[in-house]
Each structure stands twice: as C-alpha cells, then as structure tokens.
C-alpha cells in the first residue's frame, strides 16, 4: 500500500505562485496511514532564472568532498553552477547549461557517491525517509510554490527503504518528467533487462522506477504524454495507479484491474488527485463532485 496525490492550478494568474508545497504536504499527511516509510514530492512550475534545477543526495561520510567532486563534474560538461545549497547530504543546484541533459546527468551519476534525484527546467524532487510532516520540517517543503506537483507516501513492498528508493522517480534523462506509483509491477525485471540492453540507466532496485524509464523511452520516441500513458496500460504488468508530472503537464494511469484507488476532482481553477477522498478534505472546505477513475483509465492535463 502507498498513497499518492497530485495537484495542478489551471488559471494563468495562479501560475508559479500557488502553494503547491504546503498543499501536497497536507494531502500526504492525510494519507499517512497508507505509508510511513518515506515521503517525496515533485514541485513543478517555479521557473528559476537558470536553465536547470538539479537535486542530488549522498550518504558519504565526507559529503562535502563528494559534493565538490559533483560540482567539478558538472563544470566539466560546460555547465555553470549558479547556486548550490547543501543539507544533510542533499544538494540543490541551479545550473546554466546548453548541452544535452543526458551528458549532465551521466556526469553526475558517474561521480562516485552521488545519487541523482532529478534534473528539471522548473521541477525538482524532494524525497526523504519519514512522514510528510517530518520531511516538511527538514526540507521546508511548505514554502515551495508552483503550478503543479505530485507526492507519495510509501509503504515498501518491493525493495528496500532508503532515500533513493523513495518516490517520486525521475525519468532519466528527461528534464521535469517524474512519477509516483501505488502498486506492484510484475514484469519489472523483464522490462529492466530490456531497457538496460538499450542503454537506459536505473538508479535503484525499485519496481516503480521502470515507469519513469518507460515514459522517458516513449517520450524520446516522439510519443505524447497521453499516448505514452495509454500504451503503458498494456506494457506494464501488475497493479498500478500512477501519477506523472512534466514541465507543463499532470496525468494519471490506472491498471486494467482497477486494483489501486484514486479520486479525482476538477474545478474551474484546480485539479486535485489523491488515493483517497480524505486527502481532498485536507485542502478543500467542500469537496465538490469527485470521481473515481475506472480500470484502464488515463487522463492528462496541461497548463
């Protein structure tokens, strides 16, 4: 069992400034009973002056040495590090960079001790072990604003509990494409071997990461997000309801068994998605018509 949530503000007047961080924290807190192992969110929409936001993590004892090596690796790609902040092994860098994101990403993952959580033009992943309230205290998620985002509380079933195995997963090396998943994928190993043979990189042993890689592959081949989600219904085996966040988009896909819950609510201003209606009540005074998406259902929105 896991809990997922997503939110998107539709109005242009709300763009970049909606309280996405605090609302996702509240929704995930309401879903805390669905998983207490780790919590993570993607905040999207607050475009920085720089080209990319990079999120990293290291558990090395000499974290500052590893971070310094990572910055050197970034600079060697021709990128300029505009800002960097470090906290408990977590790194947030903004960089100016005109090359291929895959080169920047591989420079980072080839740095010993560095785990790359996300690269985005306007999205970043913040994930940690613990509940939403505890990670909000550490990472000050509530202060983040944006247009949209997704979140996840995890009860681990398929792989170990640590920061790397927390959701969301980034669709390496596609900037801004991130995924949260509730369920279990039974053809994970088969797909993983196939994608590794094709040169895709996996950061973890978590089955959910395959969804991010799968979508990255489809998008690389020119598919739209909607089409990629549709195809995933046949290509992913197992149980899933997953949410995807992109630079401008938000979407969900639900498996053919309707095995994992989701409720969706859309008003003139906002789209809110959550495993359970209880999460919607945590941010809305009144929950208007919410629908429960059915089996093999896919939906995407964009701002």
């Amino acid at each position: 069992m896991c809990g997922i949530s997503g939110i998107m503000y539709k109005k242009s007047s709300d763009r970049d400034s909606a309280p996405i961080g605090s609302e996702l924290v509240k929704m995930l807190d309401a879903l805390a009973h669905r998983g207490r192992d780790s919590t993570g969110i993607t905040i999207a929409g607050e475009k920085t002056a720089e080209d990319y936001i990079v999120r990293t993590w290291t558990n090395a004892e000499q974290a500052s040495d590893v971070m310094a090596k990572a910055e050197e690796a970034i600079i060697r790609t021709g990128a300029v590090v505009a800002s960097s902040t470090y906290l408990n092994g977590f790194g947030r860098l903004t960089v100016n960079y005109e090359g291929k994101v895959s080169d920047l990403a591989s420079a980072l993952v080839n740095t010993k001790g560095i785990e790359l959580h996300s690269i985005g033009e306007s999205s970043e992943i913040i994930k940690d072990v613990g509940t939403s309230t505890s990670i909000d205290t550490i990472h000050q998620i509530s202060r983040f604003r944006g247009t949209h985002g997704i979140g996840h509380v995890r009860m681990a079933t398929e792989s170990k509990i640590d920061i790397n195995h927390a959701h969301p997963f980034w669709a390496y090396p596609f900037p801004d494409v991130t995924v949260v998943h509730n369920g279990q994928l039974t053809n994970y190993h088969k797909l993983k071997h196939m994608y590794e043979d094709q040169g895709h990189r996996f950061q973890t042993g978590n089955d959910s990461e395959i969804i991010a890689v799968y979508l990255a592959d489809k998008l690389a081949n020119g598919d739209t997000l909607d089409s990629a989600l549709q195809q995933s219904l046949n290509d992913l085996d197992g149980t899933f309801t997953y949410l995807v966040s992109t630079r401008n988009g938000l979407g969900y896909a639900k498996d053919q068994w309707a095995a994992k819950p989701l409720v969706a609510m859309e008003t003139d201003d906002i789209i809110a998605l959550a495993s359970e209606e209880i999460a919607l009540h945590s941010i809305f005074d009144t929950v208007a018509d919410r629908v429960e998406p059915q089996e093999s259902e896919v939906m995407t929105w964009s701002v």
Partner: protein
C-alpha cells in the same frame, strides 16, 4: 432523542464506541465533520438511525447488523461490507468493493459505484442508481444487484448464484455469466425495490445469472453423498 457526534472532536474509535452505546437506546444519531475519514460506523448490532452529514472513507457502515445509515456525501471503498441486516444509503458516489460479502439488508447508492460492486455478495439487495464499474457482482453467491445505469466490463464474472439486473448498457459479461430473460415476477420484485427507494422509473432490465459451468455444481460433498 437525537445526538450529534463531531468527528473533528472525537476520534473514530471514540465515535464508534459512542455509537455502540447510543444504538442500544434506539437513539437517532447525527455525525458531522466526517471528512471522508475511514471506519466510521462499524460493528453495530442494534437497530438505530444514523445520518452522516458528509463523506465517509473506507469500510463505513460495515460489519453491522441492523442499523439504518444515511450518508449525505460520497463513500470510499467497501461501504456496507459484510452487512447482515439494516439499510445503508449514500446520496452520492461509492468507491470500489461496494457491499463486499454483504449477507442481508440493503445498500443504496444515489450516484455511481467503483469496481467490484457486490463482490462475493451472499444476500440482500444492492441498488445503484448510476453506473457500476469493472467486475460488478464478481464471485457473487446470493442476493440481488440492481443497476439503473450502465455496468462496466465483466459483469457477474465467476458468480455462483444470485441475480444482477442492469437497466443500462453492459460493458461485457464476465466468465461463466449469462443473460436470461427477466420474468414478470423478477421485474415486479425489482420495481418494488425501486418504489421502496422512491424511484419512479420502471425500466426494462437485463438479467444476468450464473451459467453454472465454471464450478462443479453437481458434485456432492462427502456429507451430501451419504444423504443421497
């Protein structure tokens, strides 16, 4: 006597404890600020009237025997699970696994229901005014499911006994389910149920029952054999 329980002030465990005490007195109870919290109203064994002013979460009005429950909002998964007797009605939508394993009484949904409505039902009546999702009446064993809207894919999959009536469209029939003509008596029974719920419509219904090919209906248990 009417009592009001506030879910913002009392924990769900406290509410259920209070309900248990109050239901023995035959009191009428209102629950406010439910905010889709889970497990509201479980394990009640007395006749009493409970109105929830708002949505409820999972397993609401479940494992109970006798209460009359009205939910003015939505319900989450497994509303009315294992209901023995009594009535449960929700004004808006219900989630998946609605009335799972229900044994008696009636469950009414004013809106639509999710997947697996009436899964493993063992008695009673489930009436859904809107649509039902995937696997309606999955492994149903007894009782009636009445759907005024459309039913999704695989209606009546692997059902043993019981009857499913659908007024709208059927996505597909499930494994070992078959459609047969509803008799006049069947329709009178269904229409009576509609009337009981204040519904004026008297539509025609598709009747879905078990084709009885999937299970070994004719093979006898050891005890049954000795009786033949």
């Amino acid at each position: 006597m009417t009592y009001t329980l506030d879910a913002d002030e009392l924990s769900i465990r406290e509410i259920n404890k209070r309900l248990k005490q109050l239901s023995r007195t035959g009191a009428e109870i209102h629950i406010v600020n439910s905010r889709a919290r889970h497990n509201i109203i479980v394990g009640l064994l007395d006749r009493c009237k409970i109105t929830v002013q708002g949505s409820v979460g999972y397993y609401s009005a479940s494992v109970s025997d006798g209460p009359e429950v009205i939910i003015e909002g939505n319900a989450g998964w497994a509303l009315g699970e294992n209901l023995m007797s009594g009535t449960v009605s929700v004004t808006r939508d219900a989630g998946a696994s609605l009335a799972a394993g229900m044994r008696g009484g009636s469950v009414y949904v004013g809106g639509s229901a999710g997947a697996r409505a009436g899964i493993s039902m063992k008695g009673g009546t489930l009436l859904v005014r809107g649509n039902t999702g995937f696997l309606t009446g999955f492994m149903m064993q007894e009782g009636r499911i009445i759907v005024l809207g459309d039913a999704g894919e695989s209606v009546g999959d692997s059902m043993y006994e019981g009857t499913i009536y659908v007024a709208g469209n059927i996505g597909s029939l499930g494994s070992d389910a078959k459609e047969e003509e509803a008799s006049e008596d069947d329709l009178i029974g269904v229409w009576q149920t509609l009337e009981d719920h204040g519904i004026d419509q008297r539509p025609a219904f598709k009747k879905i029952v078990s084709a009885r090919r999937l299970y070994h209906f004719d093979s006898l248990e050891r005890l049954e054999m000795s009786a033949v």
